[in-house]
Symmetry: C2
Subunit: 284 residues, 2 copies
């Protein structure tokens, strides 16, 4: 199951992420096929040389020839798709995904999967505020962190294979976390930030706001342009961890509110010194 022998890669789901994977892997010399129910996405990818082969349905030839399958679809779809189509899988293949939550899906997938096939979860922390294969871009991996998320069922070889996938995509840093660790972390650094951006944008209705904003407001609301179907699904599937992070953040912001109300200069400055020191360590 190493990369030398994995010549044919099938991507299920040809949106922004699927298209970006296809571009990166084609550039590296792999034969890339794709399946997506949206005929126009498949045609676009074929016409623009993003994939070598494609279909708008679970095509037997494409599925049975794949040495690797990468799922770049909404999380709830993966299990059903595997259940319906795994009889066609080539023996001994390896499967991964790109999904932003893990605990709620990886165990289910591994439970229903054929014994001779291995599913190893992964999460490229990359994206854009746009969607669709037309906006795919393999440069999104350049500054991205890539997280491999094995369970106890995964082999060391699969962890190594998947880490290598993150590296060849061009990701900045590859880490390994358990599903629970991943979901707690993602609730904090990704899901909470999206909740904050949306709230900041919706807590006031001032149509002239763009005339008065500086960079800070623009930065904090960039991700307020949000795919409501995908993110609602991700939030609900990671509800417990996300609610706990929201509570921690609301508690912290309420402390800062209290320091401002009581003009507790020293407590407020101490928070600012802590945030400055932590944020500086990012830019090193």
């Amino acid at each position: 199951m190493d990369w030398i022998n994995n010549r044919k890669i099938l991507i299920v789901g040809l949106g922004l992420m699927g298209g970006s994977y296809a571009k990166a892997l084609k550039r590296l010399g792999y034969s890339v096929s794709a399946i997506d129910a949206r005929k126009s996405s498949v045609e676009y990818a074929l016409d623009n040389g993003i994939i070598d082969e494609g279909s708008d349905h679970a095509d037997k030839k494409i599925i049975s020839e794949a040495d690797t399958i990468i799922f770049a679809v909404y999380p709830r779809i993966i299990c059903d798709w595997i259940r319906e189509n795994q009889a066609m899988f080539k023996p001994g293949i390896i499967i991964t995904d790109v999904t932003g939550i893990k605990g709620n899906i990886v165990y289910d997938i591994q439970d229903i999967l054929r014994e001779d096939v291995e599913f190893i979860a992964s999460h490229p922390m990359a994206g854009r505020e746009l969607s669709g294969v037309e906006n795919s871009d393999d440069r999104i991996f350049r500054d991205a962190n890539f997280i491999v998320v094995p369970t106890e069922k995964n082999s060391k070889e699969a962890v190594k294979w998947c880490s290598n996938l993150g590296q060849i995509l061009g990701c900045r840093k590859v880490s390994v976390l358990s599903p629970a660790e991943h979901d707690r972390m993602i609730a904090y650094v990704s899901q909470l930030t999206h909740c904050i951006a949306v709230s900041l944008m919706t807590c006031h209705d001032d149509p002239k706001i763009a005339d008065y904003t500086g960079d800070s407001f623009r930065d904090l609301t960039r991700i307020a342009r949000i795919n409501e179907n995908m993110w609602t699904e991700l939030f609900f599937m990671n509800k417990e961890a996300l609610l706990s992070e929201m509570d921690a953040f609301i508690g912290e912001l309420s402390s800062i509110r209290k320091y401002i109300e009581s003009e507790d200069e020293e407590a407020l400055k101490e928070k600012m010194r802590t945030s400055t020191a932590r944020r500086e360590s990012f830019d090193k």
Copy 2:
């Protein structure tokens, strides 16, 4: 008091903003002087051709020759400085500032100011996460909004003059707001965003966080590198408006929290559609 006759401009306070004003105005052909108690800042600016003349104290020659004075110091300092030095001002000059809060200072300044001199407040919504004249850069005005903040005491000519200042600095858009409107707006788009960024950075202590973050967390915490002395002063001087904005935001985020907890899909998606539509209008 038009720009043709205002040949000599004095900048009081040679930090990041003062230095950036000096660079922009020198480039336009004005004669620029500066006063700052930090001798090293004055020397740096003289050595690097950022100013034509400078002093580390309230030099009589420099002050009395100025046709315009721009205050780029902490807000609490301005009143005292004017009280101590206005006897030296040339008759009929015009004064402005760069301060991020207005209601708490403009009326005081106008109350103590000599009858023949006019103070018109303004606020360039530009900045960097760095400080000091060494980091000054007149390109910070390019995408900035510039707010002119007159009171009933200001003349139409001064509003026009100050709007023109924003234009020649190269700002993207110049608006006029009352002090109360300005302070409410700034509490929302600038002060609240800084409180959020600090809270997001301090609500968890995970030294490995940089290995797992994506662009969204980096965007939302860029301004968590914060000058604790300046921002504490700004927060306290605009306390009422800021607390009200913090309450509105915490209330909104708590609503979103409730929608996630109860899995109210439609209410959550509606918020996301609103935030997406509002944020899109920024990028037009």
